[in-house]
Symmetry: C2
Subunit: 456 residues, 2 copies
């Protein structure tokens, strides 16, 4: 009877408990606590722990990480958090750190290192690793070719089944339930599973054997398409080829999961103008700089809205209730519009929106906007009318709410579609543009109608 390990290898709960202990410890305690922690957990969790410490503590604890683990920990960290450590390391330490770096790790780190250090590391790589590094470097951030895994079993296409089976059964690589057949030029010829190999007679040549029914991915395939292709393949990995059909590497389900997580983390951070690599404890000036652009863009839209309000100064002086109520109109439009926008952005991301069904979507969203607009205009109109003891104020409010919610629905469909056609990411910039529209239209209709109806 073997012993069962009784802990989960990696868990939020465990990281969270360690963070709690580490962050409440005094300096001396922290050192010995961290010593215990890094013996129990792996590079990924050490990275999470280091990121959760303010920079001065992070740099002290970094000294305790064993040299042979430092590289893996750095690769696992977010770029900005990693940068805070890398910047403090002298050139000789960096060179030692990268002594036996592999292509995949160097691709991840290269942007945060001086070019001379990267060149030196590439120079000391084996020919095979250097080749992989240079291949990966040819592809963009969002192309699968940049992230390929090379721990795969290659079999010459003229091998016999028994030999291939033996190689695969001795493989120490993860996910070795399939092998790739290549010709002498490294051109991909097919994939075969362990189970298929085992069903062949040992002397059978693979080139006549039944192979896995899969399509290799092009290295320029986008990450979204590549990860979905692996997810739906029922296989542990898919091979990736270049335009000449040569096998460059593979994308495993594990890599697909990692890339998917990063993709969604980026999208969530993009909603506030940040990116996935942002460090929880980056230096204050650096954080401020990073956030400034988003605040600046937002300021421009806010100034535009204020300028619209400014056109109605004369009205506001005479009917002050308009100033009190106007944020409600803008805000309801913004919220309704962002619901439509989010739905449409998702539809675009899934390829479910095209020219043909856009009209149907537009009329459905207009319908929803109209129904919601009417419902809420009655409620808000009544509140406004009672609040200011004035029927006309209530009516102006109601009319402005309907108009702004319907316009918001329209804008929520049109803005992301137009941005997408201009190849601007609607997930990043859609909400700013939308809010500008709903603010401007909200203030304009409400104050405009107020001027027409309520001015004494």
């Amino acid at each position: 009877m073997t012993e069962l390990p009784n802990e989960i290898d990696h868990s939020r709960e465990e990281v969270s408990q360690l963070v709690e202990k580490l962050s409440q410890a005094t300096d001396g305690q922290q050192e010995s606590l961290f010593e215990q922690a890094i013996e129990r957990v792996e590079a990924g969790e050490i990275a999470l722990l280091l990121e959760s410490l303010p920079i001065s503590e992070r740099l002290e604890r970094w000294q305790q990480v064993a040299q042979d683990e430092q590289l893996d920990v750095l690769v696992a960290m977010r770029a900005e958090a990693r940068g805070a450590i890398l910047r403090t390391l002298p050139e000789s330490t960096l060179i030692a750190l990268l002594d036996r770096v592999d292509a995949e790790s160097l691709i991840e780190l290269a942007d945060d290192l001086p070019e001379s250090i990267v060149d030196a590391a590439v120079g000391r790589m084996t020919a095979r690793q250097r080749n992989w590094f240079e291949q990966a470097n040819q592809f963009d951030d969002d192309e699968v070719g940049r992230y390929l895994n090379h721990e795969m079993v290659l079999i010459p296409v003229n091998a016999r089944a028994a030999d291939a089976l033996r190689v695969l059964l001795r493989s120490r690589y993860p996910f070795s339930d399939q092998a790739y057949l290549v010709d002498a030029q490294g051109v991909y010829q097919g994939a075969i599973s362990l189970q298929q190999l085992a069903s062949l007679t040992g002397s059978q040549r693979l080139l006549d054997a039944p192979l896995l029914d899969l399509a290799p991915l092009q290295a320029t395939t986008s990450l979204v398409d590549a990860t979905e292709a692996v997810e739906h393949s029922d296989l542990s990995a898919l091979p990736v080829i270049d335009q000449d059909g040569r096998l460059l590497g593979r994308i495993s389900l594990q890599l697909a999961l990692e890339l998917t997580r990063e993709e969604y983390e980026s999208r969530l951070m993009a909603t506030v103008g940040l990116d996935e690599e942002t460090d929880l404890f980056s230096p204050i000036w650096q954080s401020s700089k990073r956030r400034a652009l988003w605040l600046g863009i937002n300021l421009l839209t806010a100034l535009l809205a204020s300028w619209v309000i400014g056109q109605f100064e004369a009205t506001l002086v005479q009917v002050v209730s308009l100033a009190v109520l106007m944020p409600i109109v803008a805000s309801m439009g913004g919220i309704a519009g962002s619901q439509t926008l989010t739905l449409v952005v998702r539809g675009l991301a899934m390829g479910q929106l095209a020219q043909g069904n856009l009209r149907a979507l537009l009329s459905k969203e207009m319908g929803v906007g109209l129904l919601n607009g009417i419902t809420w205009s009655v409620i808000i109109g009544a509140v406004a009318g009672l609040w200011f003891h004035d029927l006309a104020t209530g009516l102006v409010m109601a009319a402005a709410i309907i108009i702004n919610i319907v316009v918001a629905a329209l804008a929520g469909v049109i803005i992301p579609v137009v941005l997408d056609r201009q190849e601007i990411d609607p997930a990043l910039s859609g909400s700013v543009v939308l809010t500008t529209v709903t603010d401007v239209v909200g203030f304009l209709t409400f104050l405009g109608l107020g001027t027409l109806v309520l001015l004494p």
Copy 2:
């Protein structure tokens, strides 16, 4: 030489092109186009195509889906889109549809079906499937036990290596690169890989063999922890056990990827008060109802902000520039606060925030807020001063901006932490609470300072 398929099995691009053609076709054309499409693609893509059609067209095209594929297509659809089809099917059709439903599919569909239909389907299941269904039903939506995969190879713990290897090499299940050892009571005893099995002598008993170094997951493990555990295991799947140690099923990397995608889609939709199952073309009244709650909550916060403004009516009548400028103060606070909030929500989700480092984070965010506050207050104060040709107006504006951005930073840290402790999801409700704070504080400080300084 075998033939290489030259298409990707599943791709956004392909779905998008099919959607384009289908949605631009006339009724007659659409029928034959869809006929061609469903022969080329699988259930997952048929689901995407059906979802991208307005409901009347969707129901017509649904008729064309082959009966033996209908169940898989329904399982792959979003709940709301699927509901639109299920509601139109007579009871006899539903019963026929579920004739050979497996436990995993029925778990996915059960909420959208009448209880009597579900009971009837469970009654006709094999004892094994019924058992799996009832097990899965004991676990919550966010526990891994609800989603387990049962296509795994089980080996009695006293089996010989040669027999186990033979069983595994004949398996037709995906990801059959490992087998699970169980005793006569179904209690999990360990896992062994194909490669490990192949290295043993054929007569060796597995109970003395070296096994995989992995920890089985408890069925009550949260989806986030379970998917991370698989991702970091370097294995294609992890076994999942109940509290008595019995093996219930497994979570494969493929399942982990699917669950991760759904989890993030939910988080993205939650930012506007919707959920992942929302249909692009749900009926207008249904969409309106779904979105009403979010609009209602937002209305309450907008009314609160208006009430604050209302307290300064007398000031606004005399200094109308305050009415023009006040949205800028509220908006800059909201944007700055949401940046902090998003960072903190991510930190909480990753377990990287605890009591101990909260103070450090708070002071860092306050520092960022102060630096950004000062920067932007100078710019905005200058704009306001020049616009209204009044130094005092500029100064009031600048002071209000600093205060609101610093308060926003504070609120951005404290709100999600407090919500999280109350076990309220900060990703869902954080932004509403934050906006309430930044609106109220923004209007209060700006109009309050304006009253003190600018009133003639």
